[in-house]
Homo-oligomer: 208 residues x 4
Amino acid sequence: MAHTSASSAGSGAKAPDSSRRSERSRQAIFDAALALVGEVGYDKLTIEGIASRAGVGKQTIYRWWPSKAAVLLDAFTAGIDEDYEKGLPDTGDLAADLKTVLRATADEFNDHAFQAPYRALAAAGANDEELSRTFVARLMEPGTQVYVNRLRRAQEAGEVAADIDVRVAVEMLLSPFSQRWLMRTGELTHAFVDTLVDQALRGLRPRD
Amino acid sequence: MAHTSASSAGSGAKAPDSSRRSERSRQAIFDAALALVGEVGYDKLTIEGIASRAGVGKQTIYRWWPSKAAVLLDAFTAGIDEDYEKGLPDTGDLAADLKTVLRATADEFNDHAFQAPYRALAAAGANDEELSRTFVARLMEPGTQVYVNRLRRAQEAGEVAADIDVRVAVEMLLSPFSQRWLMRTGELTHAFVDTLVDQALRGLRPRD
Amino acid sequence: MAHTSASSAGSGAKAPDSSRRSERSRQAIFDAALALVGEVGYDKLTIEGIASRAGVGKQTIYRWWPSKAAVLLDAFTAGIDEDYEKGLPDTGDLAADLKTVLRATADEFNDHAFQAPYRALAAAGANDEELSRTFVARLMEPGTQVYVNRLRRAQEAGEVAADIDVRVAVEMLLSPFSQRWLMRTGELTHAFVDTLVDQALRGLRPRD
Amino acid sequence: MAHTSASSAGSGAKAPDSSRRSERSRQAIFDAALALVGEVGYDKLTIEGIASRAGVGKQTIYRWWPSKAAVLLDAFTAGIDEDYEKGLPDTGDLAADLKTVLRATADEFNDHAFQAPYRALAAAGANDEELSRTFVARLMEPGTQVYVNRLRRAQEAGEVAADIDVRVAVEMLLSPFSQRWLMRTGELTHAFVDTLVDQALRGLRPRD
DNA sequence: ACATAAACGAGACGGTACGTCAGGTCTTTCA
DNA sequence: TGAAAGACCTGACGTACCGTCTCGTTTATGT
């Protein structure tokens, strides 16, 4: 998977030659950024700190990224590199499939190493429209899409009513989850996941 | 409604005498903070900027608040001061009541003056656990509670199935709304609100 | 002895009623100022520090003195209160008399408690003309004058040549002493004092 | 003559790379410091003021000097850079030679542009032992030494008695001069200089 | 293999804001 | 009503980073 910079622009400025880029530095910067955001938090994460920890000149960061948020976004997505192509499991039991996946996701979101950068990026996105578009497109949208696809298939199979807006249905499933985590309004337990799936699916079934 | 400072702590440090506090300065700081966050955004909002705009010494801000986030939170809540006691309307038609209120809320969230501080606080909360607790308790929880109450009443009236977890049901209603707005994953239109309410209620009805 | 403020001015400002002044506070301020200048040095001596140490409001200091230098000057002179009226001893042996007094003075100047405030005042005077006039008039001039008187008497007795400028002669005796101490260009030893007196007197004797 | 920074130390802190130093900034800082000390006086001289006037970041000053006194000392000595190697004139007439030089020095000390920084440094030195050592070594000692050398030569020529302590003799000549100026105890007129030289030399001559 | 040009590490630079300290003024409260 | 207490506005402190800009030093072709 290619990880282009978060800033695609570069209108007038002379672009650096990315073929001569030091892979070594790039990786060291990612490692440093992720380590530091976990240690000191996003607010105290600095370009200087990353450069110093990575054993890299500041200019090497400024040459390739426009902001610390962009660095972190690239670092995080490079570390994820997950395979959305498989899609959700489809055992025929929609509720069971959703519970399986969401329980696993809950465990992931409860992992400390994962929290700091993800939270930081979500927060930075709230105040920076361009960043949030990239964040959503790169990280959130693919994850959402697999749910949409799974529900679409269930809909075709008659498991879900035809007049259901699948997109909204997925949001009803995932947003309470994201919201609890991001705003710390509640724990992400397996019990919560189960209740969420059960109640969400109640409304999707075709009426008699 | 009393708005105490976001930092209730005061462990070892000697607290200033709040009875001698200048109400004039307090109000000027709130006005400046809200105006500036709208003009320059949260990241470029500075304590110095607030102090200067408010015609106030920096120390007067540091004396009463621990961070710019705390200032903004107090400023924002002081400006809201809304009356949650009335609760949601109850015309007997749950769907209609919810649509009415959520459409109005959508309009409010689409208002520019409201966006900047709210977004900023939500974002700051993501990286600062203590702040997020205050933010949730002061701003989000009361708003959520009125929905919980309304649904509880509907449940008692038999409009909503007895085995429904009302809290989760409210989250299914409100989180997609908040999420769309915060992450900019979609527009907050009246059509979206209507679909959301309709699909959410589908699952709540008692089964035949 | 009356200790008027170092700033005699006070042209337009309404003068406080000095008859109602708290002698208790005044003394506490002097004690605090002298103690602190010895502990932290002149540069880190602050009005707030003096007020706090003296258990006194800041305004009580600002009411009666215009600057920390003025406080210190009053504190120091109040603590000295020496008796210049006796004048120098006159045993008939000018050299012996001078050596006796200057050796004692050297010991005094080498005393730590004496150094800090005196140095501080001399330094402050270098940059503040008005203060230096007061400092000189109150502390240096009286001390110089007793030497002038003693030499004048010696001149009348024929021990010192009639065409000698006594004032300059005294400066030749005392300035090397002060200079060494203030600028730390040398030690104030008894040997130095003796050499100084001997060489200074050599030029004063009437010529054959 | 090389003018190294007043802070020779650099014990634990990592020293900046002086080969990359901006000569432009260095000179601008000197100019600003000297101009400002003349305009506002030493007490109101601030690092921020110097930086701003010099068009320089504050850190550029803090990187190279430990205090405003050190800046001023370097600025002043860089501006002097005088040539002590020539020594005092030696026409064979000691009194005339001394009067010539001291009259010129008196004129220099009466020059306004010279006064502010020199006074400031002398004063700062009184309260800061390390600074005073540098001040004396860099500015006062070389000036004193040329007098010592001249007198030594005169002593060898038999013009001055062999048992005279030349160092003390020079102090008797120069200290009254410095003292009058620093403490403002008198004017530095040519008449004063002449009297001083004449009376000082009276005691130096070999006895019959 | 060598020249050359770009990326690189390092870090000085002009700036902005930080959070703290003290200055000097003003108001409130107490004895 | 003088003095304690201390909140207030002001402004400088010394520090941390910002983003830009040289400096030599690799490094990686492309002739």
